[in-house]
Amino acid sequence: MKRTMTKEEQFNTDNANEAATSQEKVKPENSAEISESLESTAENKISEVDRTSQEAIVATKHRLERAKTYYELPSEKTEEILTNGGFKEQITSTNDQITSLADSTKEKILNVAQIMRSGKEKIHAMYSAGQKESPEYQALSSVLMKKEGGKNTWKTENEVDVDTIKKILDTAESPKSELQSIATKERTLEKPELLSEKEASKKFLGDERKKLAEDIRRERKLQRDRLSALKTTAENAAISTENIESGQEDNRYGRILESQSTEANELAKRVSSSELSEQDAQDEEENISQLIASGENIKSLKAKLEEHYTKADAMAKERFDTLNRSLEHVMRRNNAFIVHKIVERDELRHNANSNVSGKTTYEDDVDILLALEPSVSASSATPGEKTKLWPGASGFLLGGGQIGEASSHDAGTHGEGIKKRGRENSSIEAIDDVVGRKDKGSRQQHEKDYERFGQNIMNEVVVNNPEVFGFFQNAEVDESGRFWAYDLDTREQSEKVGKEYGYRELLKGNVNNYRQRFSVANERGIPLFIMTEDRKVYECLGVNDDGTVEVGKQITPEEIAIGRAGLSAEKRKQLGERLLEKKIFKSQKTQEEARKIIGSL
């Protein structure tokens, strides 16, 4: 009789077949059950804890009872001393502490055994789910498994580091959508601070600063040595010249010591022509020439130092501006998302403003943004406020990049090549006015306008080098709190399924498209979200056949600002190379620019 293999049998078959491959990818042959010796060791320890803790409590109780009889006091008196002296209370307290110590120790012991068990069960589950390539599987298997006689087997408990297993499990079990694997990069957010010249010099030009300091130290030392030699020579000359008063010479030496450049030159002429002998004067002139030379070196170093600090100051200002116009800080300051929609309507996508051919697919559009990080047009959306955005069911929540031009309405910017779009950069204040919807003078004024019109118009900000935080699709929540794909039309379609002709297919098609878009982003490791009409963003955990969407926690602009964003260079390169092969750009020049961007990764 033909029957299909159970999962366990499949395991063993796979294991035998894959015996020669790396152990990280292969399921071990033996069971996931925790080994008997660890289980029995844990049980023994727990019994010992129970026994010894009870023994301690009972032994004290007996000693106390015996003590009561030592002095033949009346039992009422003994009880009175026991209670009023606080002894009863103290004994009860230590008994409680012993019980609590025993309980917490037993729990810790069980945890150790449980961590091992959970690690092994996780390996089984991931293997069954076809997740052998995932980092968690590989990390767990390298901790828990080993190769013995060509076969993969569990390590013994003495070979396993439980802390590492716990860390891996904690990471793997941190809340995230069951739909996806995340490939975006971790980031740290730098606080914008305008540094002083000195601080900027230390932070941005450390090597140059160090070199300059060394040069200055060297020159000072050289000058000091030369001055010292000069003074000795001049003193010797003064002793040998009978006609000169020592006081006058001291003054002269002092002037020599202080002389720089032209002053020193003048002095040299005077020295040679008067008091000193011909030979001494010649030596002196030579020394003073060296002094002049060293003075000039110092001057040149001073110029270099000024140049260095000017450069550091410019860098500090540029860095301050860069940080302030970074998407992360703009989002945080203004509590707003920055979104880039993907247009699917033929008449709008890749029109004359676009430098990409109209033949590109949805997947290509996604890959262009992820791989090339081109300058794009985006809009801001404040959570809780209905806001018009560029049409389209889906888009990206941008998490990184730099804001260039900002406009409170659709500015109709167009790209020049890949990395340039729009006119000159707007000031930080102008960006905040647009993104924070304060362009009517104040946030309060904006709130009045919002109350009057019921929604915000679409604004436009150019984002250079955009990094993607997540991918979202439109969704709407109904009065019962259920979320529906696209909008509440989906609920209507869902309700008419089975009642009116054609709705089953219509809903199925729409749900499939919804899933398909998520699948494109998911395949690229981009986290998935939904965005409601009033621009609230939630994690998307799944899409149901009836058109409802399972959502997780609500996401704030702040969380995006400090969250992961952008793909690794390796992943971008992989996506970019596919685009280059497809030759999707309208001009050869843009194709070359794309090639350079991908080549530089």
């Binding site: 660890l38 004290t60 003590a67 030592y70 008196k77 002894f87």
Partner: protein
């Protein structure tokens, strides 16, 4: 030279947990011993007081 961090293997971890428990239990048992000793001392003092009182009553 800095010590290499030691890995906690499961059985070692169980031993370590048990040893830590024993140490803490010993401390608590010492506390109990002290409480019982203090109680005995209190009984002793009360007994002496009682004897003295009896002695004084007998001599009145």
């Amino acid at each position: 030279m800095p010590e290499k961090p030691t890995k906690k293997h499961s059985v070692e971890e169980l031993d370590k947990l048990y040893q830590e428990y024993q140490k803490n239990l010993l401390d608590l048992r010492k506390q109990q011993d002290q409480i019982v000793a203090n109680f005995i001392e209190a009984l002793k003092q009360e007994s002496i007081k009682e004897l003295r009182r009896k002695f004084e009553t007998n001599n009145d």
